[in-house]
Symmetry: C2
Subunit: 172 residues, 2 copies
DNA sequence: AATGAACTGTTCGGAAATGAACTATCATAC
DNA sequence: GTATGATAGTTCATTTCCGAACAGTTCATT
């Protein structure tokens, strides 16, 4: 991994330290928000009798407009290990929140669809008092519209980059 | 939880939907970055023979300038369950990365200090090729300085708010 | 100073998550 | 066609994590 051009009057060491400081700062910044989100998701999940992977899976499929997605795709998007995915999906299917059926034309893949019961459940969960959306809706009020837009924009830039990096290189 | 004033000409339903959409959008936005970070942290941790909680603990203490912190404080900042914390700290102490000693004047609390060996280890880990800092340093280049500053600012606003909310209300 | 309540951290049993081996299906080459 | 390798998902053994009960310490009240 090679370093970028160093500006005049700035030693390589200083530049490195500066970059290290910034990367630490950014990580810390994400972490301070993230720990709160994760904690909340965990709370919401267990309150509704789901494991965190299960909640993640439901959310992931739901985001996909169609409310259906192959198990493979869910794995790619969530990075959950195959075995975890399999168990979690199994539980969701038993609860009747998901239906599983083999993909037309490729019997290896499983098509996962959110059932009516699953949609009901999600709706109820999200509207519940103290739910994550209630929290986030008021959290957003902390930001101006402009700040909000720019936050999304920056996140997009970062996630696109991170995705491109980790896809290619060896993070199995 | 009560709703805010609805603007003229906008029905309550529309306003709710709009807010719900935004909260979903924001969650999704964070999630797209987070999943990459988490995945990386996990990789770095296991490559260096640490569990994720252990890595989290080391990072947390390190951020505290002094390189020392009570176990209680670490728990408050990381939200790790007490038992997990206890085990993880135990492992770190056995590795010789942390030293444990009772706090002067309150023998209930444990003061955790990063040892020289621990500092060495952290330094080596962070400079390693493909490490999280290398990744993040280049990720930052995706943003302009202004975008970077505003990202931090927005995160601070959000985390401060989330922290204040979850401290008071009943997320044990 | 004695009692009880609140707190910090540890221990332990059970639950959740994971890696590795496995089964079934599909794709390619011969 | 069938042999080989790749892919998607499941199963199982192991590890990791966490809630609850616990032990020791401190604080407040009497």
């Amino acid at each position: 991994m090679n370093y970028h051009t160093v500006e005049k009057g700035e030693s390589l060491m200083d530049n490195d330290n500066h970059k290290l400081a910034r990367s630490t700062q950014l990580l810390r910044s994400f972490w301070s928000v993230q720990k709160n989100i994760v904690r909340f998701v965990q709370k919401i999940a267990v309150e509704n009798g789901l494991s965190v992977p299960q909640y993640t899976i439901l959310m992931t499929i739901t985001l996909n407009k169609e409310m259906k997605m192959t198990q493979k795709k869910v794995g790619e998007q969530t990075f959950l290990p195959k075995s975890t995915l399999s168990h979690a999906v199994d539980g969701l299917a038993q609860e009747g929140f998901l239906s599983r059926q083999q993909v037309e034309g490729n019997r290896r893949e499983m098509e996962l669809t959110v059932t009516e019961k699953g949609k009901e459940f999600l709706k109820k969960m999200h509207l519940q008092d103290g739910g994550i959306h209630q929290l986030f809706q008021t959290a957003i009020d902390q930001l101006t519209d402009k700040q909000y837009e720019e936050l999304l924009e920056s996140h997009l830039l970062l996630s696109t980059y991170l995705e491109s990096q980790t896809a290619g290189n060896g993070v199995k």
